[in-house]
Symmetry: C2
Subunit: 385 residues, 2 copies
Amino acid sequence: MREVALVGAGMTRFTKQADVGHEALAVTAASAAVEDAGVPLAEVGAAFAASMGGGPAIAQRALRHLGLAGIPMVNVENACASSSTALVEAVAWIRAGMCDVALAMGVEIVSVQSGPLDVPDTGSGQWVFDTGLNLPAWYGLKASRHMAEHGLTREELAAVAVKSRRLSVDNPLAHFRSPVTVEEVLGSATVADPLTLFQCCPKTDGASAVVVCSADYAAARGLDPVWIRGLALVSGRPVFRDRPDAEDATRRSARLAYEQAGVDPADVDVAECHDAFTIGEVLATEALGFCPLGDGGAWIAAGATSPGGKGPVMNPSGGMLSRGHPIAASGLAQTAEVMWQLRGRCGTRQVDGARMGVVHTMGASEFELDANACVVQVLEQGRQQ
Amino acid sequence: MREVALVGAGMTRFTKQADVGHEALAVTAASAAVEDAGVPLAEVGAAFAASMGGGPAIAQRALRHLGLAGIPMVNVENACASSSTALVEAVAWIRAGMCDVALAMGVEIVSVQSGPLDVPDTGSGQWVFDTGLNLPAWYGLKASRHMAEHGLTREELAAVAVKSRRLSVDNPLAHFRSPVTVEEVLGSATVADPLTLFQCCPKTDGASAVVVCSADYAAARGLDPVWIRGLALVSGRPVFRDRPDAEDATRRSARLAYEQAGVDPADVDVAECHDAFTIGEVLATEALGFCPLGDGGAWIAAGATSPGGKGPVMNPSGGMLSRGHPIAASGLAQTAEVMWQLRGRCGTRQVDGARMGVVHTMGASEFELDANACVVQVLEQGRQQ
């Protein structure tokens, strides 16, 4: 299988900016990624794009403004893991020898959307709205279960948000740039008990993009590679029929990605995980193998995943909670952050000596599955190899 | 690059059946394809699905009813070429060694949709609605141009619809099962002059699916392969900036697919092309290299692409004009038809001795591009090899 490298990343600021529009946001991210890679635009051999709400043909509509047209383009969707899925497709094409260089991107405008997903016909997902078991409620139940089974506390949950905001102060692209206290987090409005407002990602607009290429291309062009050592995409399983454990999709995709990479969780220096809600980071920290099952809350609250802690630094960008979560743009923003960390470019939020990184993106489901898709990436700094 | 084989195909009847719903239609097609392949469901390693209007996560939502969950699933979109794009992604994964067996499918309900595409923000595509230059009008202009430049006649255009309806009489899965005359075609209401109602595809609902696998897997399981010898996907170019020739996307993708396959148009026995409007078949017959530029209308009217003619038989299923055109389901219905023809399974519409086939799917654009995507497949019967 051909080795594939990340060689460029770009993203817009993540903030409320609906008036900019999907196409312009995507162009900003894509052109930044191509420039960062140092790849001639004419050598981009294929493009893969994702947007849940940006309308059809987002790749073609956006990239023509950049002067990129005529090449193979594919639009993908996998809920919150949509742009991570775009990356998987780009890697598949390169591995298959169908191109040498590919662009993957995601874009979303969330701040002006309202109401539930519009799911046509046959009532799939209708039970979610009938019961009120939407995603915040679902994650609220996960948090309540963790409290009951493992003794997770409200203060530990709040500590996730506090860490997130502390880190995002140093991220000029983040939605939130100011710190919060445990008291402020717990004192904010209840969204789905025990989750309060500051424990839920904001409604953010933005775009992200990466350029990937074959190892041969990277070597020939003298590019600075970040290697994709592991990359696994799985879909979820029916919660009422198969009754998978609640973090089944994360556990399965992580196992596959670690196996491909030949690494253990202990080898990881930095990670971005799917923290759309604080409990999500607790569960991902456990399911990605960074701490024992049940210990996630205490682990995070004790600073193990903060800079200088004993675990990998988790969500140095501020994550979805503070950088923001423009749905189809989130996955590649995570990849961009880990890539920049591995290249040592993150300024005041740089994780010292980061060489191995993990990205975890969950495409949650409202369709009786534990997930629509979960993607885990294992990335390694390529210099001195 | 690993050789990839089609080993199973399935589709629903194409007709008005909106009440069945996207998920049930997709399940019918997917289960038929898996059964046709003779592959254990548990060995399907990944799934790729397409639907323009079926809502998010159509792969996951539909396939769980079939008992297929947990594996990698990706949803793709590329306008009318959406399910052909799903096939491209399935092939990419197999070539990359990311799975050995994959399912690709498409599903669409068109008969209850109304109004134009809902394209959010920034006005992309708005000019189409402001000017009235939607797809029927666009194809009407292509027809007028062909008349002016090459002498295409209204009767020749009508002959495409007559051929289509004559063939679909023998296709039990087709939307229309009764023949029409040139007089009836020309006497039907004008949609976009010179195109009349019977020269435009109907509003049809349905689903289609195929199973593909590696050559090694096919051999190990003793499956009956139809080889994918050529497979090319290109996107279009801006009509106002690059001013590509009107069939540029077809010509470029066909050239790539023929090169990969090492075949000439003269080697082709049977083809399905994108005949959403009669002029589409005229232009595709030329751009796919089956007749000289400008001769398509006369060629078809003279019976060259009818059974027993000197060219490849074009659209033996009845094509989009008569089998119907449920957008994201059309591409793989074309693939299914050519696959069945190459296997000699088409009963009264069987093309004698068909060994080499072509599929051409155009994802037309309303965004200032000559196409969103165009996919050309070159398929070869695998027995006695």
